[in-house]
């Protein structure tokens, strides 16, 4: 199998270079399990310099087809992912699966738009992209510069996940599951039965502080259910590929602490601004990008928990 792939890879590299098609440099990826390739994003905010390459993205090669899981934070990153795929196989890319609709996961989609590639996502994803897409394009043009936004299009999924669906890549079955509101209101996980590998999207963060853009109570409930999945390893949305379900522990502690702190503030009648300044402050040394996201998480958690 590995031998076959490398022969193919040689052929493809040769073919693409003669076509002068792959101007994009290959995105570095590692094979974390047979046929499963991952690019680990930088733990950073999306910028023009990093081409938005902050999320973990990857692809899975089956006997007859390839599935891409998230497309990166720019068309440039998407093209580089495509180059990495074409360096390894010339099988058709049948699916592009979005774990959710955040810019660092979907901005590269246009690199894969074409005949025979179906975009797959949560049943709420089209709505989320329609509601947020124009804002994201504006905001990130400002943040990353117009050049980095070149060609970025929000490509809504046409194959929607509502519950569980299975995708066949040829002797390789992926199980996709849609989750109730947690990190966002459109989270999907991808489980490779063959290698027991879970692409968790942003339902799992490691090292990078979890980012709350959905429901803190929903997320805590989802963590319990996620932990029961029979995976051996997880590819989190951000952070290193890790063993399962141990990878959930840090994030669970953070979200539980945040919820408990916010609950106390709500009970004593503190205004929302106090939550932004104080909730989960003890978690600060344990996470990267804490100052970029904790106040936001606390604000969001407060506006949810005050309705309990």
């Amino acid at each position: 199998m590995a031998h076959g792939v490398s022969v193919l890879a040689l052929l493809v590299v040769f073919a693409t270079s003669t076509l002068a098609q792959a101007k994009a440099q290959e995105l570095p990826v590692s094979e974390v399990a047979p046929g499963i390739f991952v690019h680990q994003g930088q733990t950073a905010l999306m910028t023009g310099e990093n081409e938005g390459a902050t999320a973990n993205i990857g692809f899975i090669i089956g006997e007859s087809a390839v599935a891409v899981i998230d497309t990166g934070g720019s068309v440039r990153e998407g093209q580089r992912l495509l180059a990495a795929i074409r360096a390894r196989t010339d099988k058709p890319i049948r699916y592009v699966i979005y774990t959710h609709g955040h810019p660092d996961h979907v901005f590269g989609g246009a690199a894969f738009a074409g005949d025979g590639t179906e975009f797959v996502g949560h049943r709420n994803l089209p709505r989320a992209l329609a509601a947020r897409g124009p804002f994201y394009l504006d905001a990130f043009r400002r943040i990353m510069g117009a050049q980095s936004l070149d060609g970025v299009r929000m490509i809504p999924p046409t194959l929607l996940v509502d519950g569980t669906i299975k995708l066949d890549l040829g002797s390789r079955t992926l199980t996709l599951k849609s989750w109730p509101a947690a990190h966002s209101d459109n989270d999907v996980t991808v489980f490779d039965e063959q290698t027991k590998t879970l692409f968790a999207g942003d339902l799992v963060f490691l090292g990078h502080i979890p980012v709350l853009d959905g429901s803190i109570r929903g997320w805590l409930a989802v963590i319990d259910e996620l932990g029961a999945l029979p995976a051996q390893r997880v590819i989190p949305g951000h952070g290193p590929v890790s063993e399962w379900p141990g990878a959930l522990a840090d994030q669970r502690r953070y979200l539980e602490t945040l919820a408990a702190d916010v609950r106390k503030l709500v009970a004593r009648g503190a205004p929302i601004t106090v939550a932004a300044d104080t909730a989960a402050a003890g978690e600060r040394p344990r996470w990267q990008l804490f100052d970029d996201y904790n106040a936001r998480n606390a604000t969001s958690a407060f506006s949810e928990i005050e309705w309990e």
């Binding site: 955040h102 804002f135 504006d138 400002r142 980012v211 853009d213 009970a267 205004p271 309705w307």
Partner: protein, 286 residues
């Protein structure tokens, strides 16, 4: 009719933003194209703006952490003995698609001195607070807010859940500092001085979606455009709101009790739903 004029403003500003969006915008700095003079014309009919530094204060975090939920506090600063009264306060978020976020009308006898709410912030923007006093003049103050970074968007977070809460209303009264500690403030009788209270309304406050060619999604704007609060039959505070008010509108304010035993709220949204609820002041759980 103020409601109608307000809608026209919303639509006009949405259109102008859509048109502006069609151009290739250079790195957008508010200074480059200051919308404020135009807003003074549209919203305030070009009435002169007086320096409001001694009349009204506006507090917002320097950076919008969550673009969908940016806390803002308005505080009146008229000294005791000043014969003028604040009639209304207009909150304008210059760079938002619908800049006029809210217009608050202060009840004649309630002595509201502080109003906090939460708004959506789309961009780096000036935020203006304009107080209209009983002397017939407008007094303006402003602050500046940096847009949030990352994947934070000024949109409804969990669209389904917001819909499930539609029309729920909650009232809560807080102990004021110096008038009994929180959690044990039941000694505060109905006739005692300044109170602090909060009203929450479950509403998705959806800013609307343009028709998407691929998904065929089109959702019209849907938000609370009117809220009125009374103690017994005396108006405490009224708000005319727009899509810049965060989902589940939340207003926290101070007022002076007139001895009323009931607190009453009525909200109306753009689809004509009317939500009403009243609470016994003593039951409100200080």
């Amino acid at each position: 009719m103020p409601g109608r004029r307000f809608h026209l403003l919303c639509i006009a500003s949405l259109l102008s933003v859509m048109l502006a969006g069609a151009r290739v915008a250079p790195a957008a700095t508010p200074e480059a194209n200051d919308p404020w003079p135009g807003l003074v014309q549209d919203i305030f009919n070009n009435r002169p703006m007086n320096d409001g530094a001694d009349v009204i204060a506006i507090e917002m975090p320097y950076r919008a952490e969550d673009a969908a939920i940016v806390p803002v506090t308005l505080r009146t600063k008229l000294p005791p003995g000043d014969s003028r009264r604040v009639l209304r306060i207009t909150l304008v978020i210059d760079q938002n698609p619908a800049p006029m976020a809210a217009k608050f009308e202060l009840g004649p006898d309630a002595n509201v001195t502080e109003i906090s709410t939460r708004v959506r912030v789309n961009n780096y923007t000036d935020v203006h607070a304009v107080a209209e006093l009983s002397d017939g003049k407008l007094y303006m103050t402003k602050t500046y807010v940096k847009a949030s970074g990352g994947c934070s968007a000024p949109a409804t977070k969990v669209a389904d859940e917001a819909k499930n809460r539609l029309g729920q209303m909650r009232y809560r009264q807080f102990a004021r500092a110096g008038e009994g500690r929180a959690g044990q403030g039941s000694g505060q009788g109905p006739a005692s001085g300044t109170r602090e209270a909060q009203i929450m309304i479950g509403h998705p406050s959806h800013s609307g979606l343009q028709m998407d060619q691929v998904t065929q999604l089109y959702i019209p704007a849907f938000f609370v455009d009117q809220l009125r609060l009374w103690q017994d039959d005396s108006l405490v505070l009224a708000m005319e709101g727009g899509i810049s008010i965060s989902e589940d509108p939340n207003i926290r304010f101070t007022y002076v009790s007139n001895g009323a035993t009931r607190f009453r709220a009525e909200a109306r949204d753009t689809e004509g739903h009317v939500f009403q609820k009243e609470w016994k002041v003593d039951d409100s759980g200080i």
